[in-house]
Each structure stands twice: as C-alpha cells, then as structure tokens.
Symmetry: C2
Subunit: 224 residues, 2 copies
DNA sequence: ACCTGAACACCGTTCAAGT
DNA sequence: ACCTGAACACCGTTCAAGT
C-alpha cells in the first residue's frame, strides 16, 4: 500500500531549474489535455517537455504529485475568479450573485474540458487533504461572507456546510453536462441556478419523523 | 489511444465455467474493497479467485471490463432498491418519497463504502455509454412516473432532465459526505432532502436577462 | 545544483501448450 | 470448451555517472 507523498520534492534553486519545473508542468497539462488520463505517462511528459524522466523525479516524488501540482494551480485560478465575480456582483440581487458564480464554474470546466475533467477526477482519488483545503477554504469563506450579508438570505443561516453544498451541487451538475456530447450551456445555467436558489431559499427541514429501517446503519467495510 | 471494449468477451458455456466467472467477479469486488483502486490488479484478482490470470482474459477483454461488470451489477441492485422504495412510499407526501430515495442512495453508498467509491470513480472515467443508460433509464423512468403523478408537483413539469438532475445532486452530496472521516448520516439526509425539495419546488427560472460576458463560450479544447 | 538515460520492478495482456 | 503460466510490452521509479 503506497502512502504516496504529494508535495513537491524540493524547490528549484537556480533560474534554469525553475524553467525546467515550469516546462515540466506545462508539458504535463498538455499531455493531459491531449491524451486524457490514459496515455498520461511520465515518459511522454518528459518527451514533450524535452527533458529526461529523471528530471521530473528531482522535483516531484511521483506521478501523482505532478497531477497534484496542476490541481493546485487550477484551484488557485478558480479562487481568483470567484473573488472577482463576487466583487462584480456586490450589492446585486441574489440570482445575479449566483449566476456570476455559476458562470465562473462553467468557464472553469469548459475552458479546457479534457484537462478540467481529468483534474477533477484525480482530485477525488488522491489524498490531497490539506493541500486542497487551503484554497478551498479561501473560496468558501469568500462565498459565505457574500451570502451572510445578503438581504434575501436574511432569515436563513448560512453555515460553512451550506456553502460547500452549493459548490458540490453546482460542480456535479456542470460535470454531468460536460460528459454530454453536445452540452447546452444556456440550459445548464438555468438548471444550476434553480438548484442553488432552491437549496438556499428552501427553509432548512424541520426534523422529519422517520420510521427506523434497516438503512439506519453506520458506515462499515463489509465484504460484498 | 486504446478504444477499449468493455463488454464480456464471451459467455461461459459450461457450468464450471460459470462458477469461474462468478468467482472472478467476487474476487474482483473483494480486492477492490480491500485495496481500493490502487492495488487492484489482475494478478491479485487471479490469486484471490484461485485461477490463472489467463482465465480472466477468457471472459473479460481487459481490466476495465471487469470493473464495468461490477458497475453493472451495482446499478441493477440500485434500480431494484429504488423501485421497491417508490412502491413503499406510494401515495405519501413528497418529502416521504424523497426521503425514501435518499435512504436508498445512502445505503447504496455506505453499505460498502470503499467498493462503492471505487465503482463510482470508474463509472465516470470509463466510456460506459450504452451499458449504463439501460439501467439508468429504468431508474429515471420509475422516478419520473412517481414525480409526474404526485399532487405536490402538479404545477411543475417534471422532465427527464429534472429527474436526472435530482440523482446527480443527491449523489454528489452523498459522495462528498462519504469522503469525510466521520460522516454524519442524519445531517446528510436533511441536506439532501432540502436540496431535492428546493430544486423540485423552486419554479423553473424565468429567463434571466444576462449581460454577455467573455464566459459566453462554447466548449473547446484549447491548450492551457 | 542540476541533468541524463540505462536498469529494475511491477503489472496488463497474450499465446502456446495442456486437460 | 476451458484452463494454465511463462513470456512480452509498457511504464513508474531509481541511481550511478556526468556537467
């Protein structure tokens, strides 16, 4: 069971080394875009980058760390876009705010569809834990602030979970549309907006009396 | 670029061969549960099943087809559970119907968490196309019928897309909770119900006047 | 400090040989 | 018809040798 480290092995100390690292990451993004996850191998990345495979392993402990670095960059750029969008829609109606965020997420996903899909996929699989949460907290905090002070949500308490759920929901709808052969972005925007508005404006459910059934289980690791 | 076939190579003709196939699939599920996707390899599956690697390739064209078969079985069992749930909640309030479906989905995900997560993951990655849609249509149709005739949704038109969106949303929330270290199933139920009720009861958005921005793009395959 | 590329290990897949 | 397992190919990772 390989508990793989995902952090960069070391930082380049010389200028030409920094170029090497940058070249490697660009090549990795390129290969991932062109060939998707199958066909993404270190040999090809090295070839496209014009370096030896060994050079990759001087800065990244393994292939997963290479992908993790790309995910980190994508997250950063998403966080920037979210903050810009919230700034633009400041003081506007809730549907405007939400539409802005949805547009950002759609752009993020469809701007480079193959790459984004591959990164999303690996994001779930890799134990990114803390690496991810830094930037994601930044996003969550910004959105939560915007929600909290919004008049239309005055009566609803907006928790961190609520904010994260909004992201989860929007992301799922967008990714689902992305796998379609002919995505309809206009329709997608409406559906995502409806889902988010619905979730946010729906009063949190009063505890629903529920008969206990055999689905009242705690998570376990049974064999099939 | 390997356009991999995912359908079983052939059906076993003798009884002992059927046993072999069953044994292989059970071993595959076992390995996947124990070791997750890393560490899931054909050699180990063969070893656990007590057969030679060659035997696997007599019935499955490749490793992905093995996983695809497991996905198919999981989908079938989910479809059964959905239909049973809809039958139980027939004529009840909408929140009851939705809660029943949510419980089914939660049971499906948490009953064998590692296996379910691995299968979900591969479900997105593999080009399952038609293999999936058969069972998924069965589920979607059943749910859509239940929604369409439900009094509380009388004024809302329930399209196929609406139904699928509900699944997408519920699944995303459940999977997200499944990656947590200490999942809170009771809270998850409430959040999922709120999301589904919100989406279904929220009147479909009137076309929102939107300024055109540079995010009005069509999907493309640009380089980063 | 950085880079190279041959060498090794692991694993997916095949195929000649068996029953 | 079914099963075996050695052999091959591909790819992740390392390391001794270079600059």
């Amino acid at each position: 069971m390989p508990k793989q480290p995902l952090l960069p092995r070391k930082k380049p100390r010389q200028a030409r080394a920094a170029v090497t690292v940058e070249t490697i990451l660009e090549a990795a993004a390129r290969v991932l875009s062109d060939k998707s996850l199958d066909g993404f191998n270190t040999n090809r990345v090295a070839e496209v980058a014009g370096v030896s495979v060994g050079s990759i392993y001087q800065y990244f402990p393994n292939k997963a760390a290479l992908v993790a670095a790309l995910i980190g960059r994508a997250q950063d750029s998403l966080a920037d876009a979210v903050e810009r969008s919230l700034q633009r829609s400041q003081g506007q109606r809730l549907d405007r705010v939400l539409s802005g965020l949805i547009d950002v997420a759609i752009e993020h996903q469809f701007g480079n569809a193959v790459l984004a899909a591959a990164l999303d996929h690996e994001e779930q699989r890799l134990p990114l834990g803390d690496m991810l949460s830094a930037t994601q907290h930044r996003i969550a905090k910004a959105v939560q602030r915007a929600f909290e002070k919004h008049p239309e949500l005055g009566n609803t308490t907006v928790t961190a979970t609520t904010t994260i759920d909004c992201f989860t929901i929007a992301k799922a709808l967008i990714e689902s549309e992305a796998t379609r052969e002919k995505p309809d972005l206009a329709a997608l925007r409406k559906r995502a907006l409806r889902a988010l508005q619905g979730y946010l404006l729906q009063p949190a459910t009063k505890t629903l009396p529920r008969k206990r059934t055999r689905t009242d289980i705690q998570p376990s690791q049974d064999s099939p």
